[in-house]
């Protein structure tokens, strides 16, 4: 009978609200040629639920999906074909980083960090090297909140990029 007031039962399911928000967002992202179909909306909503579950998190209200969708619609690397997949990938990375930094960074700051991170890479590879992306974003987030020094980030980026790509630079 305890389930009468269990936390998971009092949190209202916000999937409908999220679907509506994403549908509304199509009017704005449409100018970039990016629109989510009903099927794709279902896909990203499921990806969000899975990411929340995998990262042991709870979300209230319409949440982060519409924010991510709106933020990346102007990216040069996002097109009609990969739009939904990119959102699915980013929402997973977003929650993983939030958990890894123990909620130490605000949503908006993390979205901005993620956007900078992906936009400034020479080759965009949404969906590739998830673990590395998370690790670096966690470092960036910690730097943003003063837990990590800039010098450490530079070193880690060098280690990661060169090691993971099997690249050897004679000058190093």
């Amino acid at each position: 009978m305890h389930s009468a007031v269990n936390i998971y039962q009092i949190i209202p399911s916000n999937n409908t609200a999220i679907r509506n928000a994403l549908t509304d967002l199509n009017y704005r992202t449409g100018q970039y040629g990016l629109v989510l179909t009903d099927k794709e909306i279902d896909k990203v909503v499921s990806a969000r639920s899975k990411a929340l579950r995998d990262n042991g998190r709870i979300e209230f209200g319409v949440g982060i999906l519409p924010v991510i969708a709106e933020e990346i619609c102007s990216s040069l690397f996002v097109n009609r074909k990969n739009y939904a997949d990119v959102i699915c990938y980013l929402v997973d990375v977003f929650f993983a980083v939030k958990t890894a930094v123990c909620d130490g960074i605000a949503d908006r700051d993390l979205i901005r960090l993620m956007k900078d991170y992906y936009e400034n890479r020479e080759q965009l590879s949404y969906g590739e090297g998830r673990e590395r992306d998370i690790e670096l974003l966690v470092r960036y987030a910690e730097m943003e909140t003063g837990k990590e020094k800039p010098g450490d980030i530079k070193r880690i980026m060098q280690e990661n990029v060169y090691e993971s790509e099997g690249y050897t630079d004679e000058r190093l």
């Binding site: 949190i11 209230f60 982060i64």
Partner: protein, 320 residues
Amino acid sequence: MNGYDLSGAKINYANIRFGDYFRTLMNEARRCSYIGNENAERMKKELGNVLAHVISDYTGDESTSLMQETANELFSSVLYCFDAFLMGSGSHEEAIAYMIDNGVDDIYYNGQQLLRRMHYESVGQLVRLKKTRINVTDKTYNTTLDEEIYSYIKRYDRKFGAHYTKRHFSYRPILGQGSLCGIMRMKKYLEHMTAENDFVARFDENTVQELCYKYSETHGTGYNETGVNICSLVLMNGVFASFAEKKRGSITLNESDACKAEKLFKTANDGQKEEMLSEALKSLCTKDNTDYIMRCLALLMLRINDAIENGCIDELIVIS
């Protein structure tokens, strides 16, 4: 009762736990059909709104999500707030009637007000406790009074961590605080400590210091580590002195007093023992602390029986 007649209700009191009052009361009210589906759904929805509001405050509107553990902690804090307020009702039935008549947000608001008042009261209690401090060198006792309690009260967060409980302070009073938690437990702890201080204060300060010193000397715990509850030490010495028919209020014992008291207690049956102990306690109490000291009776009886049975009476008393 606000128009609700629940007097004929078959509430099973055994199903209601004070450590989880709101939830167990609600479950019981639902089981007895005092709270129907409609009301239950309304309450759940309102509870969700209250929690969402608290979470929004917690994240400072900077995050739409949070870790499950954090959400659970905040939920526990909200429930604790409900518990604190509803436990102040005259009866379980009145608490249920209040839940039906008023919104969950109303219960939360009133609960927060109550917790704030309790928080402030606990500061006052600490001040009073320090004023009645027993003048001893015991490190555990002094650290608890000067640091631990203050640190808890200072950090107590009635909004996001109202249920947070420090299970044990280094110095423990004779009586425990039961299943209470949060600030209610703190208040109870302070009440017990004050009662003990008041009790010890009526005895000569030098004699109390001497008892503590001798106890630590006998047990090799160092001059500033008595390692035992001071009130209990004074109380036990007083009780044994009373058994040995020493002067009323005396707390010093010599070897023959201890032997006499032990012998007398050993030969008595259970009923007589209880009567002896009760009389001894009454003779030691003042009007203000009778209630607390008399509540210690059962526990003291257990300890005395144990010590006599195991031949370690010196664990309880100090023989000069």
